[in-house]
C-alpha cells in the first residue's frame, strides 16, 4: 500500500488564453510508513501535487493511486466516493487557522470526525484527544477559536485534522510563521504521529527540517520530479540550482571538510550528530 503517481499532468485554466501547467508527467511513489518531504522553489507544483492526494484536484491526464483509490481525469474511470479517501488522507493547508468557524474549540475540532459519521460523543472524545496531542489542555475546550493567539489557532486547526486519525497526514508548510521553539515542538509532534504508524508528507522550505526529520525527499522543479532519495544523499550535492539552501549542519560539515576534517555525512541529521562527528573526526 502506498501513494503512487503515474504520469500525472495538471493544467490550471485549460482552454483559456493563459493555461498554466503546474504538474508535468509526474511519476513517483510515496511509501507507506515514510516521513516524506516535498521540496522545491515557490510555484514548482508542490501544493498542486498535494491536492491530488485527497482528490481535491483531479489530474488533467495520468492517474494517482492512493492505496486502492483511483484519482484520474474526468474522462477516465475513477472512484466517485470521496469521503473514505478524505478520512484516510488528512490534509493540513498552509495557514490552516483560516478554516476555524465554530463557537468553541472542541466543537471545531470535532467537526471533521462528525462529518465522517461519528456521533457527537465519540467526535468530542476524539477532539479532546487531538487537542491533548497538540498540547492544548482542558482550559481551551470551551473557548472561542477566535480569541486565542495565532500559534494556538494553528494548533487547533491541526487538531481538527488529527482528530480524523488519518492514515496519511499531509502538512503544507506547517511551520511558516511560527517561532523556532513552536516549530520544533510541531515537528516533534509529527515525529510522534509518524512513529505511531502514520505516513507523513511534509511540504516545506526549511531544509533543516527535511534533514532532521524526514526519511525520504522529492525535489520538484517546474512541475517535474527533479531528484528523489534520502535527505542525507540529497544534501551531499549542490542543491542551489533548485533554489534550495543547504541545511546549516551540512554547510558546517562542508566547511570542516575543507579545513581537513573527515566527516561521515550519512548519519548527520541533527546538531548532536554533528557534534559527535566532530569528536570522532578528531580521533
Amino acid at each position: 500500500m502506498s501513494i503512487r503517481f503515474e504520469d500525472v499532468t495538471y493544467v490550471y485554466n485549460p482552454k483559456t488564453p493563459e493555461p498554466v501547467e503546474a504538474l508535468h508527467n509526474i511519476s513517483l511513489e510515496i511509501e507507506e510508513g515514510s516521513f516524506t518531504a516535498l521540496i522545491g522553489r515557490t510555484g514548482c507544483g508542490k501544493s498542486t501535487l498535494v491536492q491530488h492526494l485527497n482528490a481535491l484536484l483531479h489530474p488533467t491526464s495520468g492517474t494517482v493511486f492512493i492505496d486502492t483509490f483511483v484519482n484520474a481525469s474526468q474522462k477516465k474511470k475513477r472512484d466517485k466516493k470521496l469521503k473514505p479517501l478524505r478520512e484516510k488522507v488528512g490534509l493540513v493547508f498552509q495557514f490552516p487557522e483560516y478554516q476555524l468557524f465554530e463557537e468553541t474549540i472542541e466543537k471545531d475540532v470535532a467537526f471533521g470526525p462528525k462529518n465522517f459519521g461519528d456521533s457527537d460523543e465519540v467526535a468530542l472524545e476524539k477532539a479532546h484527544e487531538a487537542l491533548q496531542l497538540v498540547g492544548l489542555d482542558e482550559s481551551f475546550y470551551k473557548r472561542s477559536p477566535f480569541e486565542i493567539s495565532g500559534g494556538e489557532k494553528r494548533r487547533v486547526a491541526l487538531a481538527g485534522v488529527l482528530a480524523m486519525k488519518p492514515k496519511y497526514l499531509v502538512v503544507d508548510e506547517p511551520t511558516a510563521g511560527l517561532d523556532p521553539l513552536g516549530a520544533k515542538k510541531l515537528m516533534e509532534l509529527f515525529t510522534k504521529i509518524h512513529e505511531a504508524g502514520s505516513t507523513i508528507i511534509l511540504v516545506t522550505h526549511d531544509m533543516d527540517l527535511v534533514l532532521g526529520y524526514c526519511t525520504d525527499v522529492f525535489v520538484l522543479d517546474h512541475g517535474k520530479v527533479a531528484l528523489k532519495g534520502k535527505p542525507n544523499d540529497l544534501f551531499g550535492q549542490d542543491v542551489s540550482r533548485f533554489s534550495l539552501q543547504t541545511p546549516a549542519i551540512f554547510d558546517f560539515a562542508f566547511r570542516l571538510e575543507k579545513a581537513g576534517y573527515k566527516i561521515d555525512k550519512n548519519k548527520l541529521n541533527r546538531v548532536e550528530d554533528l557534534a559527535k562527528a566532530i569528536v570522532e573526526g578528531r580521533r
Partner: protein
C-alpha cells in the same frame, strides 16, 4: 468557479482592448440606449434590431470573447422568456396588427404578444452582448478610472467622485481575492469531510456555515489591514490625486465614439419622428 464568466476580463490584445476605457463606456451606454428605443412598426423594429444585432455581434467577435459565454448566459434567460410569454399572452393588448394566433372560447391570442416577448428577449440578449464586450475587453480598474473621469464634473455639486471610484475599485480588486479565499476554505473544509454538493439540507447548511464564517472573518481582517495600510501611506480622500497610468484619447477612440453617437442619433431620430422607411418607399408592411 468557472461559471462566473459574465463580466470577466479576457487578456487579449485586440483593437477593442486597446481603446480607451472612457470611449468604450461611452459607446456602450449609447448602444444600450439605441437598443431600447422603440420603433413605429414591427418591420422597422425587425430592421433596426437586426442591424444593431449585426453591429454588436461584429464588435463582440472583435474582442475574441468565446461564444460559449454568451450561450451560457442565454441559458439563464430561458425562465425569463417563458415568464414573458405567459405574461404577454395572458394580458391582452389594445393594438394588434399581426393577426390572431389562436382563438379558443373567446380567448384570443394575437401574434403581437409573441413578437413583444421576442423583442424584449432580443433587447436583453443585446444588452448582455454589449456588456460582455465591454467587460471582457476592459480591465475593471480601467473602468473605474473611466467612471471617475465621467463623475469629475459632478464635484461641483460635492459629489464624492474620487471616493466612489476608490470604493468601486477596492470592491473590484477584492472579488478575485474573495473567490480565492472561498476556494481555499472550501478545500480545507472538504478535506474535513464537508460535502457541499450532496447530503441533506441540514448537513449542507452546516457545511455552508463552515464556509461563510471563515470568509467573514478573513474579509473583516483584510479590510482592517487594508485600512491600516492606506492610513500608513497617508491616504486622504479629500486630497487631490495624481495618477500613475494616464489615459489618452487616440484617433480610433474618436472614430468609435463618433460611430456610436451616429448610430444612436440615427435610431433616435427614426424613433422620435415615427419614420417608417417601408411606407416611404411605398411598401406596405405591418
Amino acid at each position: 468557479m468557472t461559471s462566473i464568466a459574465l463580466g470577466k476580463y479576457v487578456p487579449y490584445d485586440t483593437w477593442v482592448h486597446r481603446l480607451d476605457a472612457r470611449t468604450k463606456l461611452f459607446a456602450t451606454i449609447l448602444l444600450m440606449v439605441a437598443v431600447f428605443l422603440p420603433m413605429p412598426t414591427w418591420s422597422m423594429t425587425l430592421l433596426f434590431q437586426g442591424a444593431l444585432l449585426v453591429i454588436i455581434s461584429i464588435l463582440l467577435a472583435c474582442t475574441k470573447t468565446p461564444l460559449s459565454w454568451i450561450l451560457s448566459s442565454l441559458k439563464m434567460l430561458w425562465i425569463m422568456v417563458i415568464f414573458l410569454l405567459v405574461v404577454y399572452i395572458v394580458v391582452p393588448k389594445s393594438e394588434n396588427v399581426l393577426g390572431i394566433a389562436w382563438s379558443v372560447n373567446g380567448w384570443t391570442v394575437y401574434w403581437d404578444s409573441f413578437a413583444e416577448a421576442a423583442r424584449i428577449v432580443a433587447r436583453l440578449v443585446m444588452m448582455i452582448m454589449i456588456g460582455t464586450a465591454l467587460t471582457s475587453s476592459t480591465k475593471p480598474l480601467d473602468l473605474t478610472y473611466a467612471l471617475e473621469w465621467y463623475f469629475t464634473p459632478l464635484k461641483v455639486i460635492h459629489f464624492p467622485a474620487a471616493e466612489v471610484a476608490m470604493t468601486i475599485s477596492i470592491a473590484l480588486r477584492f472579488i478575485p481575492t474573495l473567490l480565492e479565499d472561498t476556494m481555499r476554505v472550501m478545500r480545507a473544509q472538504a478535506s474535513r469531510g464537508v460535502d457541499f454538493q450532496h447530503g441533506g439540507l441540514f448537513r449542507r447548511i452546516a457545511g455552508l456555515t463552515s464556509l461563510i464564517i471563515p470568509l467573514f472573518v478573513s474579509s473583516l481582517t483584510r479590510s482592517q489591514e487594508l485600512g491600516d495600510a492606506m492610513e500608513c501611506r497617508c491616504y486622504d480622500p479629500r486630497e487631490k490625486r495624481t495618477r500613475y497610468r494616464l489615459f489618452h484619447f487616440r484617433a480610433a477612440d474618436f472614430v468609435i465614439a463618433f460611430f456610436a453617437a451616429a448610430i444612436l442619433v440615427g435610431v433616435a431620430v427614426t424613433s422620435g419622428l415615427h419614420l417608417d422607411f417601408f411606407s416611404m418607399m411605398g411598401v406596405t408592411t405591418l
